[in-house]
């Protein structure tokens, strides 16, 4: 993965299955332990990567981020049906909470020490230390409770703006901590969230509440020497696409970005917007890895490879979101199989 991001010669299309909970599953580790223990989280990802022969960078991340970090509570996924940590108590329940809430110290803020633990393990093996930036709407929704935030976007927009301002301050502190610990050049930022989806909010709302903060935090991280960013605009964000391009333009296309949109956004559209500068991380339909056969997955990957390989700035075969934790291992192998068979450069 690092090779494609730095423009090195490759022998085949790199494969990154965005496998988190899946790696715990195949290592026989409880999913809750995977998310609660940074060492286990790293080990599972490393071993799964070795087993399948894929090219991912181990990292910590979860979709409900924002609640625990600002003083709320999360539950770890120990029960049947759970797939990732979930919010048990939102730190913002009343309008006055927005004023009261303080920007947390990343060293003790919710999951950030877990990000740090995984990053330390990765750094020790020469891999990037990954921390999270952006996804302001997702952070805010998780802290406020999504429906409350969505209603306030119209009824009390000043509260949403105010809290997102605090999230920006917190993300700058997170960036500082990681850059100070490892050096900017040894870091990679990850940005991804689903509440930004256009199934939930309009592109206008995305622009109004988020884009200026996105530009600020991306500039901040890049100026601190962070060379690469993994962008995961989760689910259907087709209508937000011009704003993501705007963020890149505002940063002068600095750094190397990998775009991993949901399967709703065509690869061609991504190439058109980012292809001159950035890597496209393909977007095979994620639930298919759980519900379809090996042969069907190979064909989905083949189609993705044939389209993605046309990107002048590089391509990585990926699912359009996290690999389902319950995916049969043979379907993860299907990605590597397809990359070898249809994505060889020799």
């Amino acid at each position: 993965m690092f090779a494609v991001m730095t423009g090195q010669k490759l022998d085949r299309v790199p494969v990154s299955p965005f496998a988190m909970g899946y790696t715990a599953q195949i290592c026989g580790i409880p999913l809750g332990d995977f998310y609660a223990d940074g060492k286990k989280c790293f080990k599972c990802q490393l071993l799964a990567s070795d087993l399948h022969g894929y090219d991912s960078t181990p990292m910590y991340a979860y979709a409900s981020i924002g609640a625990w970090e600002f003083g709320g509570e999360i539950g770890f996924p120990y029960e049947p049906g759970h797939g990732a940590p979930y919010v048990k108590k939102h730190p913002i329940e009343k309008p006055e909470d927005v004023d009261k809430i303080e920007v947390p110290d990343p060293k003790t803020a919710g999951s950030i020490p877990l990000f740090m633990e995984v990053s330390k393990q990765a750094n020790a093996l020469g891999m990037p230390a990954v921390f999270m930036i952006g996804a302001f709407i997702t952070h805010c929704g998780n802290a406020m409770e999504t429906s409350r935030m969505l209603l306030w976007m119209i009824r009390k927009p000043e509260l949403v703006h105010k809290f997102i301002g605090k999230i920006e301050g917190y993300e700058k502190l997170v960036t500082d901590w990681f850059v100070d610990t490892f050096g900017g050049d040894k870091c990679m930022a990850f940005a991804g969230g689903a509440i930004e989806s256009n199934k939930v909010i309009s592109p206008k709302q995305f622009e109004s509440f988020s884009v200026s903060h996105e530009i600020n935090i991306h500039r901040y991280a890049l100026d601190k020497g962070v060379p690469s960013v993994m962008m995961h605009p989760c689910a259907d964000q087709n209508k937000n696409l011009p704003f993501y391009k705007q963020i890149r333009e505002a940063c002068g296309w600095k750094g190397k970005y990998v775009w991993n949109f949901g399967p709703e956004t065509s690869i061609e559209k991504q190439i058109e917007n980012f292809g001159a500068h950035d890597v496209i991380g393909g977007n095979v339909d994620p639930p298919s890895f759980q519900t379809k056969s090996f042969e069907e997955i190979v064909m989905l990957c083949k189609d993705n490879i044939e389209r993605g390989i046309k990107n002048p700035s590089g391509y990585i075969l990926m699912p359009g979101c996290e690999m389902p934790p319950l995916a049969p291992p043979i379907n993860v192998h299907a990605m590597v199989y397809a990359a070898r068979k249809f994505g060889s450069f020799e």
Binding site: G81, G83, S147, I201
Partner: protein, 212 residues
């Protein structure tokens, strides 16, 4: 005048204007108009328009939540004035998010639009076990059992739930929806209906109920 008030009520719901919703609902009462008719031809009509606009990508969830707020303001005023139950009892829907899953925005939209369309919804909330779905379907003698899941780890409970609710009520209509679902998966799970979003769920439910 009657039509003007009902249209005003519908417009207040569409625009999420709680003050106007309150004003028109009070006008329904002060003018001696039928409260049930006002709910159906005003509030529900408005939510029908909201549903269409959401499906067309012209409205988004924040606006829908405001519409729901306006509708609830009007209904609170109108409800005590409903003279008699409508002749036909509404179809009952048991609705919930499957076990292990706490994502309920989609389910809440389904509830909102189904109620606006005249269904009686028994909302079981989130993280609902198969046993709870089955017991509720049986107790309520429900017409539809609708399940939502946002995660691949929680959608796996759907086939067993479908099997079990069909055991206690063979003619129950089962519907599934949520991010990781697709028509193929729904069919494999044995569901009678699949909806990609809340607006479609109402359409499919109406169609399936009509098919009984």
């Amino acid at each position: 005048m009657k039509q003007e008030i009902f249209d005003g009520l519908a417009e207040a719901v569409v625009s999420g204007d709680t003050e106007k919703a309150e004003k028109f609902a009070k006008e329904v009462i002060s003018n001696g108009l039928d409260a049930y008719e006002a709910i159906m031809d005003g509030c529900s009509k408005g939510m029908g328009i909201v549903s269409q606009r959401y499906e067309a990508g012209e409205m988004y969830v924040p606006e829908i939540l405001c519409s729901a707020e306006a509708m609830n303001v009007a209904i609170e005023i109108l409800k005590p004035h409903i003279k008699a139950d409508p002749a036909v009892s509404p179809k009952k829907v048991v609705l919930g998010v499957t076990k292990g899953d706490v994502h309920e925005i989609g389910k809440n939209l389904v509830k909102l639009l189904m109620e606006a369309a005249g269904f009686k919804v028994i909302d079981l909330g989130r993280d609902v076990s198969t046993e709870t779905f089955v017991e509720t379907v049986k107790r309520e003698d429900a017409d539809i059992c609708a399940m939502s899941a946002l995660m691949t780890t929680s959608m796996i409970f759907m086939p067993e739930t479908i099997k079990q609710v069909k055991k206690v009520k063979p003619d129950i209509i089962t519907m599934v929806g949520g991010g990781p679902l697709s028509p193929d998966v729904a069919e494999n799970y044995g569901a009678d209906g699949y909806a990609k979003d809340a607006a479609t769920a109402v359409k499919i439910a109406k169609k399936l109920v009509g098919d009984i």
